[in-house]
């Protein structure tokens, strides 16, 4: 949030002042500021909340309090100011010279090291923030997973320009494959008998299982990729939609997977570090993919397939790889999803899921890694923040999306490359 104020391109008036004030603050300083804030919250958050008249720490920056108990609004506002905004801004501004120094040293090191240091601080922020209660933990995991899912759909809908509705299907394949892997091998249950292996090496086996899960989804993607040679646009949309319905229907009819009741008893392996590492790794791989020659080939296929073919782009290969690649990551996201909820059933992966993922992609922006992250984070946060409104939430979010579509038809941040150097560089 502070990031946007510091890098917004056309701010006016007071926003411009804020931007100038924070212009010399590097990303590292923001992250460290956030770290200070979450550690402070952990130390004195509860007593602070109680002295401001709230029974416990407001879970989501006070949003839930605003809508649920209006009487507590001043307290929640004060809490957010004292515990979130002020510590972040003060640490960032005062520490800016020091952090710039550190940034400058880090910036001279290999990019991997710089990025890893930033990610480690970011992880620490997430860790302390989510540690406060279980609600924050599950919300954060879901948000990270939806980033991966949104980004993988953006590969097809944004970079390749098809309208694919098959992501819930890929995700379902992934969720069930991963659940089969873990429930079948590592858990005592009545469906698959006693555990065949101990779960001591979960850290190794889970990513391995997710890899195979992704491969299963990627194989499923062939069903869409092969018809996509001959057909584009609406017909491909329908084929992918039919795929989603078929997967859902198959899962409902497979009794050994629990049928419509679903499958439960997944081990609790989607811990926050696991989800964080896999999502970051996924974002990194997808970002590399779309900035590679392959990514340019995707754009060429989107803009003009015949011209792309003439310029020696193998359009068939490009389409197959794009679909399988996107499905792979959707499958991985599905596997993580199943292990966060520790329960899957076929009806999770229906039209509702489709609308959700599409909303995230088109809200954030097509053809952009930034956009996908912004879309996934903002739609997830909005969904959670408006939860107290219950059913009205499903009027406000669609209305917001309609407005975005009318005023920015390609999404908020579209066609913007993820420039990691620019992001990590020292500022002053």
């Amino acid at each position: 949030m502070h990031q946007t104020t510091s890098t917004a391109s056309h701010p006016r008036g007071s926003l411009e002042l804020v931007r100038r004030f924070f212009a010399n603050v590097p990303l590292l300083a923001w992250f460290c500021g956030a770290l200070v804030a979450v550690i402070l919250e952990r130390a004195v958050g509860l007593s602070m909340a109680q002295s401001l008249g709230m029974p416990r720490i407001p879970v989501l920056f006070g949003f839930l309090v605003f809508l649920k108990q209006p009487a507590l609004i001043p307290g929640a506002l004060g809490y957010v100011l004292l515990m979130n905004i002020l510590p972040i801004c003060i640490t960032a501004k005062i520490g800016a010279p020091v952090f710039n120094l550190v940034s400058r040293i880090l910036y001279k090191m290999p990019l991997v090291v710089t990025a890893l240091v930033h990610l480690a601080v970011l992880y620490a922020v997430f860790h302390f923030w989510a540690d406060v209660n279980a609600y924050r933990m599950i919300m954060l995991k879901m948000m990270l997973i939806s980033i991966l899912l949104t980004l993988s759909l953006n590969v097809i809908n944004g970079y390749m320009g098809e309208f694919s509705c098959s992501h819930p299907g890929f995700m379902a394949l992934g969720a069930y494959a991963a659940s089969l892997f873990t429930v079948g091998l590592f858990v005592n249950d009545q469906l698959f008998g006693p555990a065949m292996m101990t779960s001591d090496y979960a850290v190794v086996f889970f990513p391995l299982g997710l890899f195979f899960t992704g491969l299963v989804s990627a194989l499923g993607a062939l069903v869409i990729a092969i018809p996509s040679f001959k057909t584009r646009g609406d017909y491909l949309a329908i084929i992918s939609l039919a795929f989603t319905f078929i997967i859902k229907s198959v899962l409902e009819n497979l009794e050994f997977l629990g049928g419509p009741r679903g499958l439960s008893g997944q081990p609790d392996w989607s811990s926050l570090p696991m989800v964080f590492i896999i999502v970051v790794f996924g974002v990194w791989v997808i970002n590399n993919f779309v900035t590679s020659t392959m990514g340019k080939a995707l754009n060429a296929v989107r803009d003009d397939e015949i011209a792309a073919e003439a310029m020696t782009v193998d359009t068939r290969k490009t389409k197959i790889i794009a679909f399988m690649f996107a499905a792979f990551w959707a499958g991985v996201a599905g596997g993580l999803f199943a292990h966060v909820l520790r329960f899957v059933n076929p009806s999770t992966f229906g039209i509702q899921k489709l609308a959700e993922v599409l909303a995230m992609v088109y809200f954030g922006g097509l053809n952009s890694v930034y956009g996908s992250i912004v879309g996934a984070v903002s739609i997830s946060l909005l969904g959670e923040a408006l939860r107290p409104l219950e059913i009205l939430k499903w009027i406000i979010i669609p209305l917001l999306l309609i407005l975005v579509m009318i005023f920015r038809p390609r999404g908020l941040i579209s066609f913007k490359e993820f420039n990691i150097h620019n992001l990590l560089k020292p500022r002053g």
């Binding site: 809908n157 309208f163 069903v223 018809p227 001959k230 057909t231 584009r232 646009g233 609406d234 017909y235 329908i238 084929i239 939609l241 039919a242 795929f243 319905f245 078929i246 859902k248 229907s249 198959v250 409902e252 009819n253 003009d304 397939e305 015949i306 039209i351 609308a355 599409l358 909303a359 088109y362 097509l366 059913i391 009205l392 499903w394 009027i395 669609p398 209305l399 999306l401 309609i402 579509m405 009318i406 038809p409 390609r410």
Partner: protein, 309 residues
């Protein structure tokens, strides 16, 4: 499967397919002139059904209270006419809010707007009517006739005949009226039509209105045949009719009707031969199969990359 059983299912499939065909017409007409699918159409159908429900219930209550005593057939006719009117207003509103501002935008953006309007309609009905299913009041006592072992109810006959009559009427309208001519012109060449003094906005609104009115009729007839309504019914029918519209060939009115009936037949016969849980699986597999080998649908024009994208 003996012959009586077969014909019994043919009758059921004709009725079931009528709903799909009527809704698919709305998708197809909008597609033919604006080159985009109105993804809110399934929910417009649902709203039409609920409008019909409220009107019927209201009129029946008025009659029962003795304020305005109307015979049942008049209530039915009034319900249909008023529901068509209100639902077409809704359709025009959807066009005005969701699609007109997005004429120049990428088509995917319009699809997203449509999906979102659908969610809004569904949520609105859900919050007004509540989540519990409501019972559609029966206006006409069901009488069953048995013809050679095949049981046919008067409602089934009415549904099939009204649907076919509406399709013929729509065909006549599109082929022989001035408005229909304008619609065909717009489908043929979108850019030249305004030069001929035809308002694109008026024709688009008219198309949405007609499609929505047909959906409202389908909804009321659905309520009479299967008198239990819930707000999520639009999803089920909407998506299947959308599939029918694609299967028939984009923008082909006849194709949409035939594909609607075809899907009705596939579903009914799959459900009688196999366990009914396999219905969606087999139906969608057949559709996938048809589309892989006939990518332009049954009556569609081959796809050109130069189409207005």
């Amino acid at each position: 499967m003996n012959l009586t059983f077969f014909f019994q299912n043919v009758v059921n499939a004709l009725q079931w397919g009528s709903f799909y065909a009527l809704i698919a017409l709305g998708y197809s007409m909008v597609y033919s002139i604006l080159m985009l699918f109105n993804f809110a159409h399934g929910d417009i159908f649902m709203v039409g059904t609920y409008i019909g429900f409220v009107l019927t219930t209201g009129l029946v209550a008025l009659s029962a209270a003795g304020i305005v005593v109307l015979p049942n057939w008049l209530i039915l006719v009034l319900t249909i006419v008023l529901a068509m009117l209100f639902t077409s207003c809704l359709g025009m509103l959807v066009e005005r809010i969701g699609y007109r501002p997005l004429r120049g935008a990428p088509r995917a953006s319009a699809a997203i707007t449509g999906l979102m309007i659908g969610i809004i309609l569904q949520t609105t009905v859900l919050s007004i009517m509540g989540a519990q299913r409501v019972l559609y009041p029966s206006l006409i006592p069901t009488t069953a006739y048995t013809v050679g072992g095949v049981s046919v109810t008067n409602i089934k006959i009415m549904i099939v005949f009204v649907s076919i009559a509406l399709m013929i009427a729509l065909h006549q309208f599109v082929q022989h009226s001035k408005w229909g001519m304008a619609m065909r012109a717009m489908a043929y060449d979108y850019a030249v039509v305004p030069l001929m003094g035809i308002s694109i906005n008026a024709i688009a609104a008219l198309t949405f209105a007609i499609g929505s009115a047909l959906a409202a009729v389908a909804g009321i007839m659905y309520g009479m045949a299967y008198p239990i309504l819930d707000p999520s019914m639009g999803i089920l029918f909407g998506w299947k009719s959308f599939v029918a519209a694609i299967l028939g060939g984009r923008g082909s009115i006849m194709g949409a009707c035939i594909a609607g009936f075809l899907i009705g037949f596939i579903e009914i016969f799959v459900a009688t031969i196999f366990p009914s849980t396999l219905r969606d699986l087999i139906a969608y597999s057949i559709i996938l199969f048809i589309l892989v080998f006939r990518p332009h649908g049954l009556f569609g024009e081959p796809y050109s990359a130069r189409l207005r994208l």
